[in-house]
């Protein structure tokens, strides 16, 4: 798997620009039947992008194929496991991948991804500093608890097998989008404001709370709550020691035995069902799921907690086997993805794009104001498919981008003691 593809060199020495230009020229001159070699070449190229249902949306693929001279095929993995398995076992079956930060540790030194040079990515200068330097726009250092963006943004060199905490010119990938998660709340069923993660384990809500079923999200959520309650103290709750894991799991087992948890959800739909049906009143949740509950006419809020949000991000990366013209195209496609249109599309689901500037020009003022700036909606806010999500006057829970992203308590994580944690998580599920 580590060896590079040794297929015949295609458009060897030609620079990307010239190739793309000639491609465009060919497209412009397509009235003439004369065979345009490069145009043909570029038309024959197909970039396979494998992601999940939140990034590989048919509408985006359609737009990409409209805008670009080569073909883009989007393939949606049914879940993260399948996607990572595919990357691990058949890396050559895809060209571009996008994955969440909890899996990035798996790829260090495995050789099936390739670095992206800063110069190849057009929007690096416009990217939010969270990714470029690990800071908030204020210059303040962002939380390093959990798998923070800066932990997997740079390679130490072009052929490096490890990530660098210091900026280099070799990017692990292109940050796609990110968000600040908090607890989903049913205010109508609780009747008072919720402002601390501690409430997740409040006996008042026994039998009415749910957690995400997994060590990357569920455990950080639980750790936020345990720490807020003062039950367990952590050095780094995003990267626990064995003792901290033991304490965490033992506490959680106590809660579970008392019937505190209603359910552990594994997918988006379950979390929506749980909340919308009133099975639970408080749970780990994703922003679009909260929106989905609200569009069903059920009250649901998603305000920040005083201990901060749980942050996460998605990285888009080129596979190692890409070379020559195909690599040029893949990188062109990645650049396109963050050039605004797709970012705006995804932002309408409640996620943030890493280049807000580009997105802004593809959103209405109302949309950008609502999603990014914490302004009250001046008119109805629509989801990407044209369905009304919020009426005029509504303000996004938690406010503006940096009100939310500027207050991260923990990042989704893959701990160093992952092996031990998964083993203890099994004990928790079996208890």
């Amino acid at each position: 798997m580590t060896q590079t593809d040794k297929t015949k060199p295609k458009a060897g020495g030609l620079s990307r620009r010239s190739v793309l230009k000639s491609g465009a020229a060919a497209a412009a001159a397509s009235a003439f039947p004369a065979p345009m070699l490069w145009a043909q070449n570029i038309k024959d190229i197909k970039i396979v992008h494998v992601g999940q249902s939140y990034s590989t949306i048919p509408n985006i693929a359609e737009k990409a194929n409209e805008d670009l001279d080569f073909t883009v095929e989007m393939q949606t993995a049914p879940d993260l496991t399948t996607q990572v398995n595919r990357m691990l076992s058949q890396p050559k079956s895809l060209d571009v991948t996008d994955v969440g930060n909890t899996t990035l540790k798996y790829y260090v030194g495995r050789g099936f991804l390739q670095p992206l040079n800063v110069s190849e990515y057009k929007y690096w200068d416009k990217t939010v500093p969270l990714f470029t330097s690990g800071t908030y726009p204020s210059g303040e250092k962002a939380s390093m608890q959990g798998y923070a963006p800066i932990k997997a943004q740079y390679y130490t060199g072009p052929d490096a097998m490890e990530y660098s905490l210091e900026p280099t010119e070799w990017l692990v990938g292109m940050p796609l989008y990110y968000n600040a998660d908090t607890l989903g709340i049913r205010p109508d069923l609780i009747g008072r404001p919720i402002d601390s993660w501690a409430e997740l384990l409040n006996p008042e809500f026994s039998g009415k709370v749910a957690l995400q079923d997994g060590t990357g999200v569920g455990v950080p959520d639980a750790a936020m709550a345990l720490e807020a309650m003062g039950d367990v103290s952590y050095v780094d709750k995003g990267n626990m020691t064995r003792e901290e894991i033991d304490k965490t799991i033992e506490k959680l087992i106590e809660y579970k035995r008392d019937g505190h948890f209603r359910s552990f959800w594994t997918n988006f739909d379950q979390s929506v069902q749980l909340m919308a049906s009133g099975e639970v009143v408080l749970q780990s949740m994703w922003s679009p799921a909260v929106t989905e509950v609200r569009t069903r006419g059920v009250e649901c809020v998603y305000n920040g907690m005083k201990e901060g949000y749980r942050g996460w991000y998605i990285m888009m990366m080129p596979m190692a086997h890409l070379e020559g013209l195909k690599r040029e195209c893949a990188i062109e496609y990645m650049n396109w993805y963050n050039s605004g249109w797709a970012g705006a599309f995804i932002s309408r689901q409640g996620f943030y794009n890493s280049v807000p500037e580009n997105v802004k020009s593809h959103m209405t003022e109302n949309e950008y104001g609502y999603w990014y700036e914490g302004k009250p909606a001046t008119e109805a806010v629509l989801n990407p498919f044209g369905k009304v999500m919020e009426e005029a006057g509504v303000v996004r829970d938690g406010g503006a981008l940096w009100d939310r992203m500027g207050n991260i308590g923990i990042w989704n994580t893959l701990m160093d003691e992952d092996r031990y944690l998964v083993r203890r998580w099994q004990d928790f599920l079996a208890a």
Partner: protein, 286 residues
């Protein structure tokens, strides 16, 4: 023909033998080997590590996992047997027309043509706190507050198993029972046996092969299931197959492999015990 019968049989069975060797036996061997290797972060290292087996063999977790799954298995077997046997008796001895019998069996099979994940989603509008069942019970004044144990509970898991597997018991028992000659029943009646005695002394023993086949189906389905138990218990119940799925999802192959081999051994022991009661090949060829 120059080919001897033995060679002809070998040629005919070769494609199947190939598929099973390549797709079942070799993977099995590899899983076995992998279970002894070291691992971390989605990687397996070619170094011997016995930890996966120690954990699989000696931990409290294993005991808990198997206790849970055997509890499910026993309850499911008991109920599906009770329903399956009664209804097989009904179909064979009460339903008079052959067409009606087939129609009823087919009717019981139709719901299974809807994809599994969708079937699972459909329990929510039915059993949830605001689901049809709770609304009906509330409407009838039978309960004051919605029952929350209808969904995301062990009850829900067993209910889904029964829903899914009753047919697996009903089918083979009906097959066995239909082969009992009517004259046998009449002979027993002539000897003065009551309906209940006939069932216990004549029909039940003669249905043993069907019961054994049904039991094999259900054992393997329940022991191998990770999907239903996860969805229906709301992820709150862990079984051996589920533990394997969790570890596969965390890319921790060696412990998953060790647990898989262990589960396989358990399944094989169960099935080979059951196979003592029935020669599947003979039974089917009758």
């Amino acid at each position: 023909m120059t080919v001897s019968p033995k060679v002809a049989s070998w040629l005919q069975v070769a494609p199947m033998a190939f598929v099973f060797t390549a797709m079942v036996l070799i993977p099995l061997g590899i899983i076995f080997v992998v279970s002894f290797l070291d691992y971390n972060f989605a990687q397996v290292f070619p170094e011997i590590y016995m930890g996966s087996w120690q954990d699989a063999l000696y931990s409290r977790l294993t005991v808990d996992l198997y206790l849970t799954v055997f509890k499910f298995l026993l309850i499911t077997l008991t109920i599906t047997f009770a329903i399956g046997f009664s209804l097989a008796y009904f179909l064979v001895f009460h339903v008079r027309s052959n067409g009606m019998r087939l129609a009823l069996l087919a009717a019981a099979a139709i719901p299974f043509w809807t994809p599994g994940p969708i079937r699972m989603v459909s329990w929510v509008p039915l059993l949830g706190k605001e689901g049809l069942v709770n609304q009906a019970l509330l409407g009838l004044g039978l309960i004051d507050a919605p029952l929350d144990w209808l969904l995301y509970s062990q009850f829900a898991v067993v209910l889904a198993y029964i829903n899914l597997l009753t047919l697996a018991m009903l089918g083979p028992i009906t097959h066995s029972m239909a082969k009992i000659p009517r004259s046998l029943i009449q002979a027993a009646q002539d000897q003065g046996a009551s309906e209940w005695q006939i069932i216990r002394e004549v029909i039940l023993p003669l249905c043993k092969p069907g019961i054994a086949i049904g039991t094999i189906f259900i054992c393997t389905a329940v022991l191998g299931d990770f999907f239903i138990v996860k969805i229906m218990s709301g992820g709150q119940t862990n079984t051996p197959a589920n533990a394997i799925a969790t570890e596969l999802a965390a890319f921790q192959y060696p412990p998953a492999a060790a647990k898989s081999v262990m589960l396989l051994v358990v399944v094989v022991i169960l099935v080979s015990v059951l196979l003592r009661f029935v020669d599947i090949r003979k039974e089917l060829q009758r």
